[in-house]
């Protein structure tokens, strides 16, 4: 039987699909009986999903303009 502390160390291996099946079964068995670790794993998943939704900013206008000029200069070069 895995301990809760072991679950917190193995969670990335589990979520990344890098567990061999025996370990995976042991992990499942622990989750089946431990609501705290179920919450821990769920919070990890939420953390990861939230990272995937971080906002992005468009470049500042002068930066975009400078890059566009680079592109124009590049476009003039013979292919």
């Amino acid at each position: 039987m895995l301990t809760c502390q072991q679950v917190t160390e193995l969670v990335t291996r589990y979520l990344e699909g890098q567990m061999e099946w025996r370990q995976r079964v042991a992990f499942w068995c622990h989750l089946a009986v431990c609501p705290h670790c179920r919450r821990y794993v769920r919070q990890m998943r939420v953390t990861i999903a939230t990272l995937g939704k971080l906002p992005e900013e468009p470049p500042p206008p002068q930066e975009r303009k400078a890059l566009l000029e680079h592109y124009r200069a590049w476009s003039q070069k013979p292919e």
Partner: protein, 214 residues
Amino acid sequence: MRTHGDTAWLGSDSDQELVQRLLRRDEAAFVRLVDTYHFRLLRLALPLVGSRSVAEETVQDTWLAILDGLAGFEGRCSLKTWMFHILLNRARSRAAKEGRSLPFSALGPAEEGPVEEPERFTAAGMWAVPPSPWGVESPEALVLRGEAMECIEEVLAQLPANQRAVVTLRDVEGLAAEEVRELLQLSESNQRVLLHRGRAKLRRALEERFGEAR
């Protein structure tokens, strides 16, 4: 494998079509490329090079190298991954010129020990102080709370550079684990340890911010 991020604006454009348009000197396509990737290149450059100004210069170099390399893009990986490769190359050659190496080029994980404080567990390894509920436990609900995003950005920026780079590529950009390993030249276990430690700190930060008193 997750491929979020670039599909929204590409619509039905495949990477190859986009590259063809760029090669045909399509300025609108280039502006869209810059709008989509400039920020993301910079976000990845920051942990690689150490200072904002060097990161900006490295991204500039990267754009020039992208244009020069465009005709050779073969579509063996996504355009995004290919651009990140170029950024890594630029950052590496710059670091080499300055006589240093990138933070993760030669490294075992710098941190050791358990990711969660040992005091949170009983002697038998069971939770003594279990994770506290957050009230909201879906990413959608968290995203709606701007403070959660701020909290994540803040903690991400404070992670050690190698953890930050791995988390950025794997979780923020959604690259496959193998792509991340290849880009950062990490072994499978190093990559996993860095990802694990970074994620654990981010979860804990959210718990500190949003955990309900029990």
